[in-house]
């Protein structure tokens, strides 16, 4: 062994034990020790984002709580002017979409591409059904002049139709129904915006899922989107009784 050969062949570079022991799945980023650690970090991060969402919707819920106590009669009359059966159908549609999304996560976990695609499509369809029904409800409110602003009309609350069981409100209290409708449009509008964003992401996931990307053990994006979609569902679980069912008896 000559000295020259030791010079031309430098020693093997040291390899970190964790890189030496096993191969990494293709989706594991180099700054994670294991795929398991990466998945945990992703879930944790997603939950931190959802906590900011709790605070975001929470502010609206608190405003609702206060004004409902102050102007209870206005809130009851305005709430009863909503189409409760449509709200109920939408609740069922949204819970169903949460179920199909949960099935999507399961499909990704058992690595079944076909099931995953079916679940994502079903979730998209149900999301559109929800938004469609919401559009009908919004349209009714515009027709009835129940949208806060210059064209708002209190006549339905001061002089309820003869066949309705509603108690007539004073002009002062009837004007407070605008506060209810402001909160109604703010809360359901922001909720609907979350669904529109969610459906857009669903299309991206569906597009990428066709290559089998999410059915190779790389469940993380599907799982994190599932968390987002279920959170939007939870918001509606509270919105439905708070906005539609204040006093239906």
């Amino acid at each position: 062994m000559s000295i020259a050969s030791t010079i031309t062949h430098p020693p093997e570079p040291e390899i970190h034990p964790s890189h030496d022991v096993h191969e990494h799945p293709f989706y594991q980023k180099h700054h994670f020790e294991t795929a398991e650690q990466q998945r945990e970090a992703a879930s944790f991060g997603m939950w931190l984002f959802l906590l900011t969402e709790i605070m975001f919707f929470g502010g609206l819920f608190f405003a609702y709580l206060l004004y409902r106590n102050w102007y209870y009669e206005a809130f009851v009359s305005a709430s009863n002017s909503l189409n409760m059966p449509l709200g109920l159908i939408n609740t069922i549609v949204l819970i169903s979409s949460s179920f199909t999304m949960a099935m999507g996560v399961w499909s990704a976990e058992i690595r079944n591409k076909k099931y995953l695609q079916i679940s994502l499509i079903a979730t998209i369809v149900l999301g559109f059904v929800f938004l469609g029904i919401k559009t009908v409800e919004y349209h009714d409110k515009f027709v009835e002049h129940h949208v806060p602003g210059a064209s708002f009309d209190i006549k339905d609350f001061v002089n309820p139709p003869k066949d309705s069981l509603e108690k007539p409100l004073t002009v002062d209290m009837a004007n407070k129904t605008q506060i209810y409708f402001s909160l109604y449009f703010a809360m359901t509008g922001v909720h609907a915006l979350h669904m529109i964003i969610g459906i857009a992401i669903l299309f991206v996931l569906l597009w990428k899922a066709r290559t089998g990307l999410y059915t190779t053990g790389y469940v993380q994006p599907i799982e994190n989107f599932g968390l987002y979609w279920h959170f939007v569902d939870i918001v509606w679980i509270f919105l439905f009784p708070f906005l539609y069912l204040i006093n239906r008896h």
Binding site: E36, S43, D233
Partner: protein, 130 residues
């Protein structure tokens, strides 16, 4: 050289000698005892879906009955129960690590603290005395 590359697309990872590497399964999918990878079965999802449906019909039914001051607490109670089921099962928190459990609990707790303290301000003001 290419034999060294156990492709991660394989369900069963193998080493350079094509021996099963399950003990080192990097995605840890094949390890049924790992708590963080508990795969919730469709049967559980179906049951939770049923619970949510029943809760929805219950909350509508309860709103039709005049229960005086109890209408609002009952509606909130049903909504919270439904939300807990969604968080625990649809969102897998029941099967998650302590870190995630604590994060979720801390978030909702902080929200409740904010609501509670804001309400304290409103109920303790000298209403009508200024």
């Amino acid at each position: 050289m290419s034999d060294h590359q156990a492709t991660s697309h394989n369900l069963t990872p193998v080493d350079a000698h094509h021996d099963n590497l399950d003990v080192h399964d990097p995605a840890n999918i094949t390890n049924p005892e790992h708590v963080a990878h508990h795969i919730v079965s469709p049967a559980v999802y179906g049951m939770i879906f049923g619970v949510l449906m029943v809760g929805t019909l219950l909350t509508v039914g309860a709103s039709m009955v005049n229960l005086g001051h109890f209408n609002a607490p009952i509606a909130i109670g049903i909504a919270v129960t439904k939300a807990v089921f969604v968080v625990l099962f649809f969102m897998h928190v029941k099967y998650s690590s302590r870190l995630v459990k604590l994060t979720v609990a801390a978030g909702f707790f902080t929200f409740l603290v904010l609501v509670f303290m804001s309400l304290l301000d409103y109920v303790s003001r000298a209403w009508g005395q200024w």
